[in-house]
């Protein structure tokens, strides 16, 4: 079984392009052009140049010795937290802003939850001198104030999404509505491996630099490209898709996806889509979706705004359904503890999203010879408030 997208945008049973006719020309334009644009040598040259000199790639693959000792395996951290703007999100926005330029678009819109993707989008728009509007749920704007101001300093307009639950899902709805109303001059930079085809595959490809680098770095350090495990947290799933991408079809590598269980999967306050979701359609793709029995989308909960999404990228729904990836879920409390543990054993305060990936180590057992790579997708600066509020350190 090969993990790959088909020409309709499906990974097995999941994916597709469930969009209103108003967006059909936009999506077609992207679908018809993006592969050719992205594969062109001048695009690759510009993309790689920006990843190196602007983002700061390659990011280190760091052997976490004290953490390794604690869990009895050889644990490496892929340091996406060291990317410019503080997380992996910028890998995708650099790619998409170049694509937007090639498509002749003068304006960019984006949605954001915690504000990381919004900041990464505002950053590349500033870099290229392109007008930028970021939709953000009114509730998220209030709880992620520093990121709102970062976007504004960078020159972006932050528009509150005031519909529905006023969080990430609604910001995405508003961005899509904006695109419907402005179809010709605007490019929509989706921040995760979600949305209608070709977005999930396109975003995954831009993020796949993560696993490409892991392979090269492991080869150098260990004399082999493949670890035994690759572990990443999953909200929509862009950092996981990037970390898994070049390992999708390497069967000797166990892929591990970690979802946010919030207060617990049976409390009604969780964001663990593979546990609580059923197949459904949201934001243009068929995927696993948290919903009522009548098909209304349910508002998820997690302490981490970046994992607080009722769906999951279609590729992850496929990895789950086929058993290619093993899924764990981790509560707020477990994630926060893991964040503090990493801070104290390795001197790295992780983003609360990334802390979920580390908490899964407690649910796994290893042989001492196992090589484990954890994608440390973002740094914890933005979450200081959350750590302080939690307070148990």
């Amino acid at each position: 079984m090969k993990i790959q997208v088909d020409e309709r945008g499906y990974y097995g049973n999941f994916g597709g392009a469930f969009i209103p006719e108003m967006l059909y020309p936009n999506i077609e334009e992207l679908r018809e052009n993006y592969e050719q644009i992205v594969q062109a040598p001048d695009f690759q040259k510009q993309f790689n140049h920006l990843l190196r000199d602007f983002v700061g790639r390659p990011t280190p693959l760091y052997l976490a010795e004290r953490l390794s000792e604690k869990y009895g395996a050889e644990i490496y951290l892929k340091r996406e937290d060291l990317c410019h703007t503080g997380a992996h999100k910028v890998n995708n926005t650099v790619g998409q802003i170049l694509l937007a330029q090639k498509l002749g678009k003068q304006k960019v819109i984006a949605e954001t939850g915690a504000g990381q993707h919004g900041v990464a989008t505002a950053t590349v728009c500033a870099l290229m001198g392109i007008e930028c509007i970021v939709y953000m749920g009114e509730v998220d704007m209030a709880r992620q104030k520093p990121n709102v101001e970062r976007m504004r300093i960078l020159g972006a307009e932050v528009r509150p999404a005031t519909s529905g639950s006023k969080t990430l899902k609604d910001a995405t709805n508003e961005a899509m509505r904006h695109w419907i109303n402005n179809p010709t001059d605007t490019h929509y930079i989706i921040g995760s491996v979600v949305g209608p085809h070709p977005y999930p595959e396109m975003v995954a490809r831009f993020q796949s630099v993560i696993s490409k680098e892991i392979k090269a770095q492991l080869l150098e350090k260990k004399g082999k490209e493949n670890p035994d495990y690759v572990i990443a947290c999953v909200g929509g799933g862009s950092n996981a898709a990037g970390a898994f991408y070049h390992y999708y079809n390497e069967e000797d590598v166990q892929l591990v996806a970690v979802e946010a269980a919030g207060l617990g999967n049976h409390t009604g306050e969780s964001a663990a889509t593979t546990v609580l979701g059923k197949p459904g359609i949201l934001h243009g793709s068929k995927t696993l979706l948290m919903q009522t029995e009548d098909g209304q989308v349910v508002e998820p909960y997690s302490i981490s705004a970046g994992l607080d999404y009722p769906g999951i990228g279609p590729v992850h729904a496929h990895l789950f359904e086929t058993g290619r990836a093993k899924f764990y879920s981790v509560t707020d409390e477990e994630a926060m503890k893991a964040g503090v543990l990493l801070s104290r054993t390795e001197g790295i305060i992780p983003a609360v999203e990334s802390a979920h990936a580390f908490a899964a180590l407690n649910q796994m057992t290893f042989n001492s010879s196992d090589v484990v790579v954890i994608n440390l997708s973002g740094r914890g600066d933005k979450d200081l408030e959350t750590y302080i509020k939690w307070g148990k350190y």
Binding site: P20, E21, K169, R177, I180, N181, G280, I281, D294
Partner: protein, 257 residues
């Protein structure tokens, strides 16, 4: 014969299609609104199935969706309300909604219920054409249900032809690049698009929707198509204070004279 075909056989111009959201303003207003619309002169009625994430809709219809869901509207409730509706209402009824609630209800089951209560067609804006053709079409046909496609000013001529080929009933012409209720007028730059579609001599009738809100815009739309669809403006009208039936007849009269 499908009621929609019968309608367009008898009436080729100034066909008025009015949209309302099921369960709004009150959960049990559905039959009252249907009857009042028919009595007032609506030729075709579109019932919106409320959804938590209606991405093609502007604020007015979003809000009515939210209220309807809070009121407890579901597909089960709606089909119960529509039982026996054909004893009271004879104009064609179209259900409009997003695809996820239909998928959860079960597509086959949904089609059977539509046939049972007398629904003539369905509009699912986020259902891609190829999904419809490959998966939904046999079930729709089995239950005599039409699928209504949308076209927009950005839809290519080749695709309009393809849509016309695969359509029954009528084609929904979205007047401009927008969500519902975003615009309250029809501008001159749309006339190119209207003329272009008119000159294609499609086999299906066309109804223009989005931005149709009053007599002036209705008349303008009717110059360019077989009729028009009003949604947001009607929702606004029934949101105001007063007797529901009087508001409905007052609104329809203000549009068609």
């Amino acid at each position: 014969m499908n009621r929609i075909d019968k309608l367009f056989q008898d009436k080729k111009e100034r066909v008025l299609n009015v949209y309302f959201t099921a369960g709004y303003p009150q959960l049990n207003d559905t039959t009252t609104i249907l009857e009042a619309l028919e009595t007032s002169g609506a030729d075709l009625i579109e019932i919106g199935i409320p959804y938590s994430d209606p991405i093609a809709d502007g604020p007015t219809i979003q809000e009515s969706n939210g209220v309807a869901l809070e009121n407890g509207m579901t597909l089960k409730v709606l089909f119960n309300q529509l039982k026996g509706i054909r004893d009271k209402v004879s104009v064609p009824i179209v259900l409009m909604g997003y695809v996820n609630p239909i998928v959860q209800f079960g597509v086959e089951n949904f089609c059977a219920k539509c046939e049972e209560v007398g629904v003539d067609a369905v509009i699912l804006p986020d259902l891609p054409m190829f999904e419809y053709l490959e998966i939904y079409k046999p079930m729709f046909e089995k239950h005599g249900l039409y699928n209504i496609f949308l076209i927009t000013p950005q839809t290519s001529e080749a695709r309009i032809r393809q849509i016309d080929e695969n359509s029954n009933g009528f084609i929904y012409m979205v007047s401009s690049a927008s969500t519902t209720g975003a615009k309250t007028s029809i501008s001159l730059d749309q006339s190119d698009y209207f003329a272009r579609v008119k000159n294609m001599n499609l086999k299906n009738p066309t109804l223009i929707g989005f931005g149709i809100s009053n007599a002036e815009t209705f008349d303008k739309a009717c110059e360019n198509a077989n009729g028009a669809i009003i949604g947001s403006a009607f929702i606004k009208a029934i949101s105001e204070e007063g007797n529901l039936e009087e508001k409905i007849s007052g609104f329809v009269r203000s549009v068609i004279g």
